[in-house]
Amino acid sequence: MSMAEVSVNFARSAVELAAVEREGSLPASLADMPSSLDVYRQIYVSLDLPADSGPVIGITSAITGEGRTTVALGLARTLALDLDTTILLVDADLVRPSLAARLGVPPTRGFPRALEGQASLEEVMQQVSERLFVVTSDATEADSARLLRRLSEHDPFRTFRARGAVTILDLPPILGHSYSALAASVADAIVLVIRAGVTPADTVREAIERLKDRPLRGAVLNGQRSARSSWPWRRP
């Protein structure tokens, strides 16, 4: 999708979002997202993914607490508003899943079951808005290593790729688990979230090193205080 198409869709999607929020069908946590949808459009456009290719976008970070889930949620919400295709948001952080809590839906062992072949993704996904579906996970720290390895070996998103759906993975932090970087390889494009003013540059550098030979497309700097501290450098 080109930037022009995204812009055309924006007015329609904004109206839809307002309607959805009025009807109360959008979970409160989604309605409470940062207001700058355009940031997420910018991320999607910058990834420069082929249209209708059914891409899998992995959102990860070096360590926990960088806003990884926030970015994944924001991107999913924005794309659900802007694109005429299914958006699948998957909680692939099998060590400390948090998507269910953020969405306000009951935590289910959805994604681990799909990885173990006990159910298909269609069976475990939950619809939260017209085009947005989520697959949650519960705390499976004990067998997270095995599941992450399975994720890297078996692409569970084949059917969604074929349908042209956009899959967004909330991946575990790269330095949080040895298999995190391995699991990230399932994504067609990886976005690294960095919390501004918190994460040391060396830590991020180490995470990037682990993502070597993985499709890392770029970074998102989260929480930059551009509005106040660096207003002279703001872009128009």
Binding site: S36, G67, R102, V204, K212, L216, R217, S230
Partner: protein, 344 residues
């Protein structure tokens, strides 16, 4: 799948060019650190000046105690050591100043002033400290011919009043004691002088009478005889000189006797009273300025320290520069979002 090709990376880097007006990175990071920790950074700047002014207002008030005394002119004139050219007030002021130079007097005065005594009682070399302190801090000045003003400045209320009351109580006693001491020695000295003069007078009178009898000189011829008779003239002069000495000794004895009864002639016109002087605006401004400067230094040091310790990435243009990864977007800081949800 590829990581990211050089061309797309360059495109993204080009999309976020550094502003030509951009400040040096170090300055930008200092400003950012301040913006992140401005509450803590401003605490010294705000608290220290307020605290300093508070301390200045509370602690630097000075209590000035003053007393005025009237000097009896006659009593001063009687004093043998008084300067006849100076005014009574000057003489009394000089006497009081001299008394304050003596450690024994100062210690007696200090003991009579409970507040002052409590501040010096336990000090080593207490008597020396007291003598040094009082001789410097108690100001005695003559005001006109008969008025003496005595004052003392202290940081403690009522201390000066007590001290001046003690000085005005002890000074007359001390002066009287000194006068009696001096009168006693004068009496002894001039009594001997008079006795000597009387002995000489008796001896020369007898020699003169014998000589007049031998030379048949009548008392009416004494002046004429002295003109041409050198021996008679010498005896006559010796008798007159002895008579003068006896009279002088009598006068000195009389003066010494009266001196022994003087000393308590200080009349207090204005009893010791105290004036509390407020802290001057200049002092307040000085305290405020120093504290503000110190606060700024502390705040600046805090910001520099925090900046030096922080190795995190803060600005979008640092990511490609330091990590070689293009920046896709920046999400602005939203206060409360992180704290509210514990964003991961």
């Amino acid at each position: 799948m590829q990581q990211f090709d050089d061309e797309s990376q360059q495109d993204l880097v080009d999309a976020f060019p550094r502003s030509p007006r951009a400040r040096p990175d170090a300055v930008r990071r200092y400003i950012d650190t301040f913006m992140r920790h401005w509450v803590i950074a401003l605490i010294p700047v705000l608290v220290l000046p307020v605290a300093a002014v508070g301390v200045a207002l509370k602690s630097s008030k000075t209590a000035t105690a003053t007393a005025s005394i009237w000097v009896d002119q006659n009593s001063v004139k009687q004093l043998s050591y008084a300067d006849p050219q100076a005014t009574p007030a000057s003489n009394t002021a000089a006497t009081l100043t001299q008394l304050l130079q003596t450690a024994s007097f100062d210690v007696r005065v200090a003991r009579e002033s409970p507040l002052y005594w409590s501040t010096v009682r336990t000090k080593p070399n207490r008597d020396g400290v007291v003598a040094d302190d009082l001789s410097k801090k108690v100001m005695v000045t003559a005001n006109g011919a008969d008025l003496v003003v005595i004052s003392f400045k202290s940081n403690y209320r009522q201390m000066g009043v007590q001290l001046l009351q003690s000085i005005l109580k002890e000074a007359p006693r001390e002066i009287a004691r000194l006068n009696q001491q001096q009168a006693a020695s004068s009496l002894a000295f001039y009594t001997r002088q008079k006795a000597d003069a009387q002995t000489r007078l008796a001896r020369f009178t007898k020699q003169l009478a014998t000589y007049m009898q031998l030379q048949h000189i009548s008392p009416t011829q004494m002046a004429e005889q002295a003109l041409f008779d050198p021996k008679f003239a010498a005896l006559y002069d010796a008798v007159q000189s002895a008579q003068v000495d006896v009279r002088n000794a009598d006068q000195q004895l009389s003066q010494a006797t009266s001196l022994a009864g003087t000393g308590g002639s200080i009349e207090v016109i204005d009893a010791p009273s105290e004036v509390i002087s407020a802290t001057s605006k200049k002092t307040l401004a000085l305290y405020f300025g120093i504290a503000l400067l110190l606060g700024l230094v502390l705040s600046g040091g805090f910001v520099v320290l925090m900046t030096a310790r922080d190795k995190s990435l803060r600005f979008a243009d640092e990511v490609p520069d330091l990590l070689g990864v293009p920046i896709l977007a920046t999400i602005p800081f939203e206060p409360g979002l992180t704290r509210k949800r514990g964003v991961r």
